[in-house]
Subunit: 423 residues, 2 copies
Amino acid sequence: DEGKHQFTLKTAKETLTGKYGEDSKLIYDLKDQGGELLSLRYDLTVPFARYLAMNKISNIKRYHIAKVYRRDNPAMTRGRYREFYQCDFDIAGQYDPMIPDAECLKIVHEILSELELGDFRIKVNDRRILDGMFAVCGVPDDKFRTICSTVDKLDKMSWEDVRSEMVKEKGLSEEAADQIGQYVSMQGGKDLAERLLQDAKMSQSKQACAGLTDMKLLFSYLELFQVTDKVVFDLSLARGLDYYTGVIYEAILTQNGPAPEAGEKGEEGVSVGSVAGGGRYDGLVGMFDPKGRKVPCVGVSIGIERVFSILEQKAEASAEKVRTTETQVMVASAQKNLLEERLKLTAELWNAGIKAEVMYKKNPKLLSQLQHCEDSGIPLVAILGEQELKDGVVKLRDVHSREEADVLRAELVEEIKKRIADV
Amino acid sequence: DEGKHQFTLKTAKETLTGKYGEDSKLIYDLKDQGGELLSLRYDLTVPFARYLAMNKISNIKRYHIAKVYRRDNPAMTRGRYREFYQCDFDIAGQYDPMIPDAECLKIVHEILSELELGDFRIKVNDRRILDGMFAVCGVPDDKFRTICSTVDKLDKMSWEDVRSEMVKEKGLSEEAADQIGQYVSMQGGKDLAERLLQDAKMSQSKQACAGLTDMKLLFSYLELFQVTDKVVFDLSLARGLDYYTGVIYEAILTQNGPAPEAGEKGEEGVSVGSVAGGGRYDGLVGMFDPKGRKVPCVGVSIGIERVFSILEQKAEASAEKVRTTETQVMVASAQKNLLEERLKLTAELWNAGIKAEVMYKKNPKLLSQLQHCEDSGIPLVAILGEQELKDGVVKLRDVHSREEADVLRAELVEEIKKRIADV
């Protein structure tokens, strides 16, 4: 069975059924030549869980960058496509509570900080806290998932509209909706978890207490990882997917101002949309295992197109050029009939591990060679001429400063490496 | 149009029709929810050509690693799957003859040398030489492609069987087949190209002469690139795909003995199969351009599963362990209740750019932490204990030599970086 070894992109439809809740309508279905109903993968999480089950893997930490498919309306300006990449990181295995969960959040923090996408915030909640909250607010058991989907819309809809959907479309009582409304406006840190553990209503739910105790533990690890500046415990975060069982989180970029201090409901930055999300899914592997053997998992998924679209906008705004090559040096010539010498020098540089490029023309103009370096951000040019060849030197030009210096051929590789290291 | 921006993996069937010759039967067809006939991409070359045409790109050099699909019989032991990765490198643009072609061969040479897969040979031929040869041997024009497909089987079938397929299945005359037989046994280098340019029959074909003149030029560039030790001009190389228009090549691993000297028909190494192939396809982009505007292209495709399967066999044979992580240091502890200290140190190392790992257990056993390092090839362990914390030091252990030394906490990052650089 080929599928045991790698999750095929096309998969039997039933593999995906019942994993995505109300989002299931976006699954991209196909039929193969035999008429079997197939689907394109919707995310990388379900394939990962299936892979663990099929190969009986009980612990692993891995990342995976690949395409996923959603039968949604594309919106290209916002970086939303029907076919797009996800970049997932997951930790699977039976471990002590919240340690891998904290590592996932540390990784999101590190990635978003290093990409310099602007200020961001990571909202954290827990499915058990949500379920406990629904229970103590009087939501009937069979309405938990659908009410959860409605709460998930709070980042796009006002509370009034969310409340109205709960009451009018989903048949929830007004009292229950209003009680939910009080909780989902709460944001904070470890102290909010502590306060809710004392809350008269919330503390009646065992599930909520388990989630809140873990939330406290999570924040203590996040303090050690020095990432609490961006992480907010937010009771309005729901996330639609059915498979989450514990911690859930979502990273959003905020256009202005820092995230509020933990525990304080500050001036909120304007959200420019979610760039990463994830959570704990302890039941998914068991759904694929013939014996129902469970493997607890926690993971995060980053939307790369989204990130790229922001980086490109930033580059455009600053009139900065985005480098599309890693070429370090262009081997050029000012005179005719030096193609062979150019090729020879290029091969010398390649063999020395230098990223070199040469124009595929017999007699390119020096100006067009230099222009190409300017356009594509190549920092150095090694220029050959009859005189240089006689003297055993190469003219090394700095594209930015336009300074040129003769370098002994035997010392060229060293000199280029030095110049690159200096940059 | 979303497809303009990225080649979707699923594509209208007609995009692929007429590009792959007799291999078209392996195209993986699908129907979408609307009933439209789609196919999964067969290779990365056709999608690349379509991308250039749709975006009006007239020159580009790029690599692409991604999955392709063939409705073939899988053979896992030989690294052959229905879904597999290809790693493609292509140069598109109007340039002087054979310069980008030579670069592609240099890249194949470099990759196969650096991977240390064992000895290899790169066979080179030219579609124009093949077509010219077919013409002067008396193959009717409308049989060129199908006879070419049969010649392509020479790496798997004996000449007798190939001859028999030409004559009995494809209706070629015995005389034409025998004349082809004489040519396809020829192997050599630049000198063979020169000899064939003087060949009474071959020199009658303008096409063959154009191909042979370019072959001479190619070899002169390959000499400058210092790769002629592995490249052989081989008239039996055909490659089945319809889209090639000029140079074609294929890299094979040879189990024993070096490739024959150019111009000399030496003792042949046993082929263990093709690991890379490619060629020039100057007409493909024009097939997708509404105005038929052509963009000449040359490229190479490497079969990664094949390469991995060989590397894994090699590793197994030498009982070497293939490292599956890049972790440089494990943060461990010999005593209980030091989880927080371990997490804190791990974050310190992460923040300093060191690849560190920590066990997700409150109180893991020292032995299991060390065993994990042995198993996964992590070279260093930073061990914390009550005494070390008091003294402001960390015990740094070399997993291989088992030597341990106390390192001042403030100097730990420097010391780890030094140790890693030494390895």
